[in-house]
């Protein structure tokens, strides 16, 4: 029995790593005494399947994981039971049962929505600046890679949408995952390199608000029937 869970990784745990987050959720599931399935083999552990890891320092409002259960539990009981067994900064928002052969989150999630709290040297026309940015024919950025040489790539085709959400809060919808991944730090870098009045900001200024599935020109939540049942 597979269940898909949407949760938030809030401010209090923004500095814990992906692996630490997984262990925390596993221990929460144990404390909640849920009938979870364990992996087979030498070192049985609770199998969690998360989406694209969230960078250390960032808050995530709608993160997801899939989990196998031995027995069905009522959704409401699952949500409230797990929330009582997790630190308050990890908040279970929603859950739904999905078919056992559902495509993994890693395989379907290909889009992320980031909110960046901007920092300007002086007052600027935010709409106009952002408009100018997205209308560049090409947005070349440097990708830093661990133990490998830097690489230059064009961010533009992977930038689906950008808008000013609020005063100095900018929203970016970009490609994420194995078929092309835009890092928020690269968006910030690209902006500050092109506009003198924009300061570079650290990752703690970024929130991953959504993780979505892009099909053609449409975006769906990983909970959507059309994603779960396809």
């Amino acid at each position: 029995m597979k269940i898909r869970i949407e949760f938030s990784k809030l401010d209090g745990v923004k500095y814990i790593s992906h692996l630490e987050l997984m262990d925390t959720i596993r221990r929460g599931l144990r404390r909640a005494n849920f009938p979870v399935s364990y992996s087979k083999g030498y070192n049985p552990h609770i199998q969690l399947s998360l989406g694209q890891p969230l960078a250390v320092g960032m808050v995530g409002m709608a993160e997801y994981f899939d989990l196998d259960l031995e027995k069905k539990i009522e959704i409401d009981k699952f949500i409230s039971g797990l929330n009582q067994s997790l630190p308050p900064s990890i908040c279970i928002n929603k859950a739904r049962y999905v078919p056992d052969d559902v495509k993994s989150l890693q395989a379907v999630v290909n889009t992320a929505v980031y909110l960046i709290k901007m920092d300007f040297k002086k007052n600027i026309d935010e709409e106009r600046t952002l408009n100018g940015f997205v209308n560049f024919p090409e947005i070349r950025v440097v990708r830093r890679r661990r133990n490998k040489k830097d690489r230059i790539y064009d961010l533009k085709p992977m930038l689906y949408n950008a808008s000013v959400r609020d005063d100095n809060i900018w929203e970016f919808t970009v490609s994420t995952g194995s078929s092309g991944n835009v890092r928020p730090s690269e968006i910030i870098k690209a902006l500050s390199e092109r506009y003198d009045e924009i300061n570079e900001v650290p990752l703690v200024n970024v929130i991953r608000e959504e993780m979505l599935v892009k099909k053609g020109n449409k975006f769906y939540k990983p909970f959507d029937d059309s994603i779960v049942r396809s």
Binding site: G12, V13, Y15, I16, S17, L19, E20, L21, D23, T24, R26, R27, G28, L29, R30, R31, N33, Y38, Y42, N43, P44, H45, V56, G57, S85, L86, P87, S89, P202, L203, V204
Partner: protein, 625 residues
């Protein structure tokens, strides 16, 4: 003032930011109400080491059980965060409330190893508290210390207001409550210390004054208060004593990331080099009924997937076989594993380990400590060579492929034959493993024997507190010999930095004068001396020279009639017993474990009205005196 909120958004600049955020599962965050006495509990090392220490977790919950008390945690910030804090002028803070240490009534340090002492000074300084006790008035938190190395508190004496000698469960709460009343009455720091010094186990170092003659320590003089000596405080019945069940579950993968269950306290094997074996007497075991109940509660509360049955010698517990069987059966379904640290060198221990390690067979550790029967007799390590071979044979047959052997060099009376003995034993173990692997039809990884060789450091309140420690040349020569001879496929040799051991030896038997050396070394920039990559021996040697002290004088042999800097601390063990044990060592005479029934006259039970408590047994020990 709350610092944590301000610092939190800068933590992306430092390594391992999750060390500094708190808010873990089971953290206790109480309202900052004025009627509550507030204690910040510090471990002078980084989070993942401090949180792996059972004593810290125990005290944390013990104090927080009290409605009128708050206990919060504080760890040493790593170099990068320290730099940031100093640059921004942020004071050291506690994890729970995020408040400055200065806001607390008490700042308590757990003393676990000598090499953490520079970190204590650094934490005081980061908390904007003067490091010297004499420079602090009642507006500063009371600085207190306790723990495994408190039994020779002298090198730290000028930095602390008081030390608590012994087990915290006995008197720490009384101490805090009394302090709260005195503080409310607006007494002076000096008056407060006078009152607190009346509490059993409380040692106020400024009430004692060491005397030196011709540069030699010749005794310590009481200058204030009513106590000539300070008695170690001991929990009489561990089974009825407090145990922390709702343990904090760190986010970070700490050094020992599992639930702990302290099954017993104390060890009476009587190894003559071992400080813990002398300073945690007598043995007190918890009953298996209580332990099973505690295990259930801890695992339910934490969600941990592993539980460790801790004590100084786990296999000694009178009911260990049944306990392990019950727990293994109970938790197999829940995929919870059981770990047994500190096993003895015998087949029984391997059987136990086999019982719990149904999965994931990696390594087993044995500690024969010395390479020949002669030297093992000298140190009273009741292990025969054949015990080791039987044990490893059982281990290899059960599927373990990696054996770690722990030895010491520099023990009294050691000769080259003893070093050769280490090499022989290691090679023999390797051969036993290889033969078993050749003849088995089971799949087995290549045999690996890791030989870890530490350097013997004489410690206070052990029978070897009088013996000379090896010097640098001797240690290096011995390590060279082992390096040359412990070679070949399947053999791995590891050793300690000789200079680090020497400094540990310096402080372990040091007197109050060394405080100025520790202070100087800290001023030169030392913080994490226990981390070999950050240990700078040169600073220590220079500081010693600068202050006019001789390392060799601290490492030399002491005469029985000499006064020792820690003699005003009463461990409850007779000095005559330690001396007799030291003499027996040189005669190769063994002293058997008193749990077998025969008393050997350490006199702890008489001196402090305590008893050996063995689970499931009515009678403890028959005293002959």
């Amino acid at each position: 003032m709350k610092v944590k909120e301000k610092i939190e958004n800068l933590l992306y600049k430092v390594s391992n930011p999750e060390r500094y955020i708190g808010n873990e599962w089971n953290q206790i965050k109480k309202d900052w109400e004025s009627h509550r006495i507030k204690m910040a509990l510090a471990f002078p090392d980084v989070y993942e080491i401090g949180m792996s220490h059972l004593g810290l977790r125990l005290i944390y919950q013990l104090i927080n059980e009290e409605e009128d008390m708050i206990c919060e945690r504080c760890f040493a910030p790593w170099f990068d965060l320290e730099e940031l804090m100093r640059e921004k002028n942020y004071s050291l803070y506690a994890l729970e409330s995020g408040r400055e240490i200065k806001d607390f009534d008490v700042f308590a340090f757990t003393l676990q190893y000598e090499m953490s002492y520079t970190a204590i000074l650094n934490m005081l300084d980061l908390a904007e508290i003067p490091i010297m006790a004499e420079e602090r008035d009642e507006s500063y938190p009371l600085i207190i210390g306790g723990g495994a190395t408190v039994y020779n508190p002298e090198p730290l004496a000028p930095f602390f207001d008081l030390f608590y000698i012994g087990e915290a469960e006995v008197g720490l709460i009384d101490l805090l409550r009394k302090y709260k009343i005195l503080k409310k009455e607006s007494r002076s720091r000096s008056k407060i210390l006078e009152e607190l010094s009346e509490i059993p186990g409380v040692y106020v170092p400024s009430f004692f004054q060491p005397v030196y003659n011709n540069g030699q320590f010749t005794g310590i003089k009481k200058v204030r208060g009513n106590k000539e000596t300070v008695n170690r405080q001991i929990v009489k019945n561990l089974d009825k004593s407090f145990y922390p069940v709702e343990m904090i579950v760190p986010y970070k993968d700490i050094v020992h990331n599992r639930a702990y269950l302290e099954i017993a306290r104390g060890c009476t094997h009587g190894c003559r080099f071992c400080a813990a074996g002398m300073s945690y007497r007598p043995v007190r075991e918890r009953s298996k009924e209580n332990l099973v109940e505690l295990a259930d509660e801890i695992l339910q509360s934490t969600g941990y997937e592993e539980i460790s049955l801790t004590s100084l010698s786990t296999a000694d517990h009178s009911e260990i076989e049944e306990l392990v069987k019950i727990l293994a059966e109970r938790y197999q379904q829940k995929n919870i594993s059981i770990s047994l640290p500190s096993l003895r060198v015998d087949e029984f221990s391997v059987e136990l380990a086999r019982e719990v390690q149904r999965v994931r067979k990696t390594g087993l550790t044995f500690a024969p400590e010395a390479g020949t029967q002669r030297l093992r007799d000298v140190i009273n390590k009741g292990v025969k060579e054949e015990n080791l071979y039987t044990a490893v044979r059982a281990a290899f047959n059960a599927g373990w492929h990696r054996i770690k052997l722990y030895f010491m060099i520099g023990l009294p009376t050691e000769t080259e034959a003893d070093l050769a003995g280490i090499v022989n034993m290691a090679k023999k173990v390797l051969k036993i493993g290889k033969d078993i692997r050749k003849n088995t039809d089971k799949k087995m990884k290549p045999i690996e024997v890791q030989v870890s060789v530490g350097t013997f450091v004489p410690k206070a309140f052990t029978p070897f507190q009088w013996v000379r420690m090896n010097d640098k040349m001797e240690i290096e020569k011995k390590q060279d010999y082992l390096r040359r001879n412990l070679r070949g496929r399947g053999l791995k040799f590891s050793w300690n930095d000789p200079e680090l051991s020497l400094i540990e030896g310096l402080i372990a038997r040091g007197d109050r004068r060394l405080a100025s050396v520790i202070k100087e070394v800290w001023k030169q920039g030392s913080r994490f001396d226990g981390w070999s990559q950050h240990f700078k021996a040169k600073r220590w040697f220079e500081a010693l020279e600068d202050k006019g002290y001789d390392l060799n004088d601290y490492l030399r042999e002491r005469d029985y009639i000499e006064k020792l800097p820690w003699q005003h601390i009463n461990m409850g063990i007779d000095l005559e017993f330690l001396q007799k044990e030291c003499e027996k060592a040189y005669k190769r005479e063994l002293t058997e474990d008193c749990r077998q029934g025969k008393c050997h006259g350490c006199n702890i039970c008489f001196n402090f009205d305590v008893d050996l408590v063995l689970a499931g047994k009515e009678e403890g020990i028959i005293h002959e005196n």
